[in-house]
């Protein structure tokens, strides 16, 4: 591994380490007898089901929209318009299937976008290779 690759891997692992949710109970894949029903229910709650959770006041902000955010929304609606998915399927994927860390950690339209990419692969409209080749091609335009 070259030094710069090693540095990149270390940086990646450090960030991932910091992304672990702050849990106040031990969580090391416990034995079945260590999980009561109340804990089971709490662990299997959907990440988007946030109503009533405690939180502190924040500064309420408006936000300018990124070009990619606008285009992501339009792409997702066009995919529904033309029958690739419906809104329930999209919501399930972008609100639940992404899991807690991505749900809270990514921008709102970031989840929409990841979900649009995944539906294309999962429903076999494109292969993972086609997607990554296309991303390489797009990146090269910016070099």
């Amino acid at each position: 591994m070259s030094t710069s690759t090693r540095d990149k891997v270390m940086q990646h692992l450090n960030i991932v380490g910091h992304l672990q949710p702050a849990l106040h109970e031990e969580t090391h894949a416990p034995a079945p007898d260590q999980i009561d029903n109340a804990h089971y229910r709490a662990y299997t709650r959907m990440a988007h089901d946030v109503g009533g959770e405690p939180d502190v006041p924040i500064r309420w902000e408006e936000k300018e929209e990124e070009v990619w955010e606008h285009n992501t929304f339009v792409t997702c609606e066009c995919l529904a318009w033309r029958g690739v998915w419906n809104a329930e399927e999209r919501r399930r994927r972008q609100n639940v299937d992404v899991g807690q860390t991505q749900y809270l950690g990514l921008p709102y339209y970031g989840r929409w976008l990841l979900t649009a990419a995944r539906i294309l692969v999962d429903k076999q409209y494109v292969t993972v290779s086609e997607l990554s080749n296309k991303m390489d091609e797009v990146k090269k335009r910016y070099e």
Binding site: E62, K63, E64, N71, V74, A87, E130, L131, V138
Partner: protein, 235 residues
């Protein structure tokens, strides 16, 4: 202090190259078009439809209802039918001719009274009556608003500048994929004899969500900090 503050909120500092989001967005869109899942023209037409959206039709719906008791009855019993009178067709709208895939066709208009205040949230995602109110504001989408408004509504409304006395009941309506809501606030004093256009001007987006109430002379939402985009979309 203020300079430092500005610096902290410059997103550009985080981004030193084209973002993965931008790359993925272009890749997904181009692949969809290449594979024929939708056309470039579909995307363009949807974008044009987006440009037509905003809070004006909802504001006019409220203003009309203030002026016309018969229309108010329609508005509170059948929001979708009332929407037709302000030019919004939830069922057959362009560009699909079957409405928008994500908004369905059930609009409820929540009528405030001097002793009842409504406010809207979507705790599970950020459902919002887009066809009649435009795109939702960023704060409406935050987990923070969704967590707290259902449990501490008076406190959250106070943060938006709306102090409600204890004798006013607060009702928080939780949107979902099928049902969308707008608030019909109480018509303020000092608007006697106003036209529909004059009234609609003071029914701001925030009034329609329920975090503000209309005031004579106030035709815009409260000023809040605006987080700039790295590559802003020009509407």
């Amino acid at each position: 202090m203020s300079d430092q503050h500005e610096e902290l909120h410059q997103p550009a500092a985080m981004v030193d190259e084209v973002s993965e989001f931008e790359v993925l967005e272009l890749a997904v869109r181009e692949l969809c078009i290449e594979k024929g899942l939708f056309s470039a023209d579909d995307h363009r037409r949807w974008t044009e439809y987006m440009h037509t959206l905003g809070p004006a039709p909802a504001a006019h719906l409220v203003a009309k209802a203030w002026l016309d008791p018969e229309f108010k009855k329609t508005a509170v019993t059948d929001g979708v039918k009332a929407s037709l009178d302000v030019g919004i067709d939830w069922v057959n709208s362009m560009p699909t001719n079957f409405g928008t895939p994500s908004d369905y066709c059930n609009l409820r208009v929540l009528e405030d009274t001097p002793t009842l205040k409504h406010v809207v949230v979507c705790t599970l995602c950020s459902c919002y009556p887009r066809p009649i109110l435009g795109q939702s504001p960023e704060w409406y989408r935050t987990p923070n608003y969704r967590r707290r408004i259902v449990r501490w509504p008076r406190q959250v409304l106070a943060e938006f500048g709306l102090q409600l006395s204890a004798d006013i009941e607060v009702r928080v309506e939780d949107s979902n994929q099928k049902s969308r809501f707008i608030v019909m606030p109480v018509r303020p004093e000092g608007t006697e004899g106003w036209t529909e256009d004059q009234l609609a001007e003071i029914v701001t987006r925030d009034c329609l969500i329920g975090v503000a109430v209309p005031q004579v002379g106030k035709t815009e939402n409260d000023k809040r900090p605006v987080r700039p985009a790295v590559n802003p979309y020009k509407h």
